[in-house]
Symmetry: C3
Subunit: 260 residues, 3 copies
């Protein structure tokens, strides 16, 4: 397997992603490249970190995960490559890798300083093409990670959205809104196991007493429902509709789960 | 060949499609995965069925076609795998496969019940990842279809948009609007062969006497034209413009073709 | 390597691109297909030419570049295949290949007339599927280019956006707006080398004295900056924002660079 994934905010209207793939295939002709998404909102490091966290573990061992959401490109921030027990990760050291890395067992962190591996000249605006793509291609071919550059002790970590838990109540936060308008929250499934899900009710915005259920169609069409989604996080959805639109909520909106 | 196609309403802004590919490549490392589209309108089973019908036959024999437009995910609807003379089809049994299957010679229909093949635990909201992707990967590797689950006699069929034909007139319907604003209709080429195309005129909305021609530029820029499109269906277009916008029409709009 | 790139205005909401890939893989099962972009504005030949020019040279030698922005499909315009010192190019002869070809050493130009290679019947509206995809697949497999059709002496060239240079001033033009709202211009890096970049100032719209710098974060957040972008062309950007929105500019907007 020579698998590389790409998570960026480059969009698909320009030639940026295609160009990165050209650079990779030039250096690793057998690479299989999978797009996670290129529609991370421009410069939204946290959203990129979330997408990588939600998807990386479904790939085969040895996959090289590249994430480029990089508003500081060309400035002093460094690029890093991280080897974990199962994967490689490549990207700017600005937190975009940090949610995924928090789930993995870190083996080594290297700062990308071996300029012989980069495209020449390195542009100041497109390290995805000039640095991260060629480095990922080398890792994919088995190039030893310690030759990428010096050891680094740690990486930049974004703070996770902390839950506020009280005795009879959890206060959570919307952390992602998906294509269907489902509201993904920071409440992990394990928080709910302690209480009987059947006894939980959720209040969000003006909507009160939203039921916790197992699937979207567990409630009538047009009604709101809360459930544990495919990433193991609590989601708020509307059966057959967009919860974001119908409830008028955004990323950062808070809600309360309480025992009935 | 280990070819798998994907047709979904998952969009490309989230990690859903990338995750399905990870699951497939984990189980069938040599799979070549082609996206038909992921921009089927959310929950629009009919649009998904149409896209699959229009594209599936251009793929090599043995291709595994996966379609996931699945508003009933997690409810009582079943998943199926269908083997035809040329292809495999995998998806929810809600009609999304039915337009393509209507063009194929069915060999066997299996209900997906062999849970050993699924991801564990199976989520109630993302069977694309947990059921359909791993099943497609197995079929792609030559896993025998009869081991997927019990025989099923038939599959859910969506009604096709019936034409109303009178002696001197056909009443048709817009069934798809493409990226260019071209209006794809339910009038198949063969319906038009019986009459001389030169003698046909088309009335739609307030626009009358639209000419049938062979290509977009057969009429001056900005003018409406009707022609047999690349799917073998009558299309209404505007040369250099969007017929949908200029004629103010939608999916479901009707029109009449008459002999002049 | 059996690499094929695709640059089109087909969008990704329909089945057009997927279908082209099916046709290619039918004829060249080992083809690796890379999307440059499918979001060229509908019928915008110049935008397609620009995307191909900006990306083609990052691919391995021997890559087959296919570009289909083809408002004249089905009319008298021809299809061509061009072999250069490094690549093959396939598409309509309407200028969409011309910016990339201007950077390459041409070896042969062939008009696509060998109908035995095409899909049958050839539609009048989708030559991407019926002509360009099967021709690209053949080239990818090593089919000799001279068997595609007769020699053609030249190809249709789009005029490049000429710079107006005066003694102390360059008048340039916005030629592309990228996903981030960065304004890509027709000013090549080499034009700027003659003057000291530090001494240059740029006036565009009501905004005067924009600094030339090396990277986005060289100016405070929200401020405009000009820099040489990843395609070797001068770009106007806003650190952390969209230059297109904040400066209210469009493709075709002009600006002046002057020595301070």
């Amino acid at each position: 397997m020579n698998l590389i994934t790409l998570t960026t905010d480059f969009g698909t209207q320009d030639w940026f992603v295609g160009t990165m793939k050209g650079v990779i295939l030039n250096r690793c002709p057998r690479a299989v490249i999978v797009d996670i998404t290129h529609e991370i909102p421009a410069g939204d490091i946290r959203a990129g970190a979330f997408a990588l966290m939600a998807s990386h573990r479904f790939f085969p061992k040895g996959t090289v995960h590249v994430a480029v959401v990089d508003p500081g490109v060309g400035s002093a921030r460094h690029g890093i490559a991280v080897q974990t027990a199962n994967y490689f990760f490549v990207g700017p050291d600005n937190g975009v890798l940090s949610f995924a890395l928090a789930k993995e067992k870190i083996k080594t962190i290297r700062r990308l300083e071996n300029e012989r591996l980069f495209l020449r000249p390195v542009s100041r605006t497109f390290h995805g093409r000039d640095i991260f793509a060629p480095v990922a291609a080398r890792l994919c071919r088995g190039f030893p990670i310690h030759e990428l550059g010096p050891l680094q002790k740690d990486f930049v970590r974004l703070p996770w959205h902390e839950l506020r838990m009280r005795r009879q109540e959890i206060e959570g936060e919307v952390v992602h809104i998906d294509r269907f308008g489902n509201l993904v929250t920071n409440v992990e499934e394990k928080c709910l196991r302690d209480v009987f899900i059947e006894r939980c009710r959720l209040d969000i915005g003006r909507r009160r007493n939203i039921r916790l259920a197992t699937h979207y169609q567990a409630v009538p069409g047009g009604e709101a429902v809360a459930l544990v989604g495919s990433s193991g996080l609590l989601e708020i959805a509307v059966n057959g509709g967009s919860a974001a639109q119908q409830l008028g909520l955004k990323i950062g909106s808070t809600f309360r789960i309480r025992l009935n």
